[in-house]
Subunit: 462 residues, 2 copies
């Protein structure tokens, strides 16, 4: 039954997970008819994550109607699935008691995730909605720095003294009243609460009662420092195939546990950040942002690009007399710059990705730089020959072919070098290499490209 619903409503013919147009249509109809019952019926089969996606796809007017009409049905989980940029708006449309109820429905780690992006009045409202126990837990989490393991971890733990055997542990678990909803390991601790290993529930179930817990621990065990950056936490889960990992404080004492589903969400966020930053788009950019927000967010990098392209124009301006005499130079010069920009972006992207996966390190950086220069040289020579021939055929001036060929080689080698050295330098300076590298690299390839081509032309052709 559940399966049928899913197949009909959210998985259309091609089997992917795009929200079905039919559902979208019913929701729009319900909004237009101001019909709360119809809206609730259309949403009933959807997962909260799909409801959140659907809200993101509505126009902002429809979104306000949606929240009003959805009313007290509003599922707390939808809030935590929403795009961070949109939450504040949605919450401001909600009646205070609906918001309070939605917050109460959430697990404490989701409340933390929700609260950390809210403005002061909403934060207070959310905290006030919680009962005392939960509020203490949430406030403790918020006391750790943003984007640290401390913010990610859950505090509900299942631990056992390391000297226990399987039978003792099973009996203990069977007698617990409130085991956490999600847990995959029993963490073994020493008398000072320092984790020393963990046992999967599957292994526990499959072992004889007399087996010592220490005999069936997993090799994959490793702990996460509570102050570790969440990006590094995600890296560790992916690199070491962890399912869950105990989090420890500075004294190596157990303070929480992080599970892979949270790590996977962070990995996805980090990727989104990288890809958007590489394109000069501020993070948290999404299709649901308003025009004004999007415009503002894209503006800074366009402004940087304006300044750097004016810089390139200043280089061209130095050679106005040659250009006036040989207009062919004006026709051909964008080719040299464009090829350099492209080659630079290729090197840059590989380097930024390699820095993110920790494959580009101090141990191999010089070899990588040399390699990029050689790749630039080889491709440069090939395209130099092609463009040289094109130049001669097109304009009938052999020296023009030579000039564009040499400029091409120079610019592609420089592109390879700049593509690695700029992100590596930014990383050393503790600046995210994805953030600013693009603008730097294309500035270098534009300036070098125009200068090499026009400068050489001035020497050779005048």
């Amino acid at each position: 039954m559940l399966d049928d619903q899913i197949t009909d409503d959210v998985q259309p013919e091609d089997g992917d997970y795009e929200i079905n147009r039919g559902v979208f249509g019913s929701v729009k109809d319900a909004l237009q008819a101001d019909n709360a019952a119809a809206l609730a019926m259309a949403l009933a089969p959807l997962h909260p994550a799909d409801i959140a996606d659907l809200m993101e796809q509505l126009s902002s007017d429809d979104r306000e109607d949606f929240v009003r009409l959805y009313g007290s049905e509003f599922d707390g989980e939808v809030l935590s699935e929403l795009d961070e940029g949109l939450r504040e708006d949605i919450i401001s449309y909600m009646a205070p008691e609906v918001f309070a109820e939605a917050v109460r429905e959430l697990e404490t780690d989701d409340v933390v995730d929700l609260i950390e992006d809210l403005d002061e009045p909403h934060t207070e409202a959310a905290l006030k909605a919680l009962d005392d126990d939960d509020r203490v837990v949430v406030e403790q989490s918020l006391s750790y720095p943003e984007e640290s393991a401390g913010r990610l971890m859950q505090r509900e733990l299942v631990v056992a003294p390391e000297h226990w055997n399987v039978g003792q542990t099973i009996d203990f678990l069977r007698n617990q009243d409130d085991l956490p909803e999600q847990f995959y390991h029993v963490i073994l601790v020493d008398p000072r609460m320092r984790p020393t290993g963990y046992v999967t529930l599957g292994r526990l179930m499959g072992s004889p009662r007399a087996t010592a817990m220490t005999e069936i621990t997993e090799e994959s065990f490793r702990t996460i420092p509570v102050l570790q950056d969440e990006g590094d936490v995600a890296y560790a889960f992916n690199q070491y195939h962890l399912i869950s990992a105990p989090v420890v404080d500075e004294d190596d004492r157990l303070v929480g546990v992080i599970t892979i589903d949270d790590a996977m969400a962070i990995l996805d966020e980090e990727h989104e950040e990288d890809i958007l930053r590489l394109a000069g788009v501020g993070e948290e950019s999404s299709l649901s942002d308003r025009v004004i927000d999007t415009t503002k967010r894209r503006f800074p990098w366009l402004a940087v690009n304006l300044v750097t392209s004016i810089l390139a124009s200043l280089v061209i301006a130095q050679f106005d007399k040659v250009i006036a005499q040989f207009v062919a130079l004006a026709v051909l010069m964008p080719i040299v710059a464009s090829m350099g920009g492209n080659a630079g972006t290729q090197s840059l992207t590989v380097a930024v990705r390699a820095l993110a996966t920790k494959d580009l390190t101090t141990s191999n950086v010089w070899r990588v730089i040399r390699r990029e220069a050689i790749v630039g040289l080889v491709n440069g020579v090939i395209f130099a020959v092609v463009m040289g021939v094109v130049g001669v055929l097109w304009f009938g001036t052999p020296m023009l072919g030579v000039v564009i060929g040499v400029a091409m080689v120079v610019n592609l080698v420089v592109a390879g070098l700049a593509g690695v050295m700029i992100p590596v330098t930014l990383e050393r300076l503790d600046i995210d290499p994805a953030l600013a590298s693009g603008a730097f690299v294309t500035t270098v390839t534009d300036v070098v490209g125009f200068f090499a081509f026009l400068g050489l032309a001035a020497v050779v052709l005048l």
Copy 2:
């Protein structure tokens, strides 16, 4: 102890997971001294994933020495952690009996992952190394299409009839001899082996013996069709916070199970593919590739770029007379093209990412296109004013300011439109939008930018 080693050897001072220079140095020393014992000692504390990373960072000569010297110590898991582009090389350095032993050490799903990228002779060698049971399992997996759920799933399952209660299930599990190494749920099936729900081991442990299994199933339950694309599988895990999901055939019968760690690895690969494709770098590109491979891989998109930039040059060539008369045009024209290219890349990247996360759908595509055009218009007008003023101040010709301003507005609106419409069109044609969009978008912005600027100049200034 384990923890100390990790802290000392792979987690340097700043707490991240970059391989320590000290370890890298010891390995290089051992290679130089041709000392197998020293190499084994340096590698002993490392996780197979870190050993693989370390090998990727060596030069290809060092790599060959490494494999020879590592010899029979070679851990099968290192093979499955290696970059796909590198495996073939590494295996060709290995003695056949070492390779066979390494394959035997692996889980069957890792063997599948390894084999699917190998050439014929190595595939056969790997299959021959397996014992009969494992070979059958591997060959069955390989019978599913590449990049499908069938290739990802493991076949070791823990199922229970749906009418069982907690006590029966626990007794059954306790009496099993060979439970899978990793499992998180007991899958409930009907008499025809169709999965109808699942129960987490934690919930099972925490429930009274008499409780019916159907009473404690998880809401998150959903099945994955065996032919589903692995990218969609990863999406489902991330979207619906799944930990494991049963895989079913066309008759909805249970054939395997996929766990989140595999889904996370796929998510990471898909991201890598997107980011590299957007930059015009072939997939499977990594720092460990040889110069010749890297050169070959980057060549095609540079060649495409050459053709498209020649196209842009042809546009410029139409206006050579205007340029000869007003060299300022040659100085300023790259600015218009560059701003358009940048704005186009911004829209494009947001659109490609939104397509990947299924946030850009047929339901909202027109609204998104309209929005991008408006964002382009607003930023276009702002930069038109700025550049108009710069143009006038720099060259003292008011009409030149007007021309560059108008061209800027036109190009930024076109950039916004092209940035969304091109990837959406490619997606409809079943071409990966990340793959070819960049070249198309910048061609459009170059051609439109040069044409609008020079064309307008020809009309206004001549």
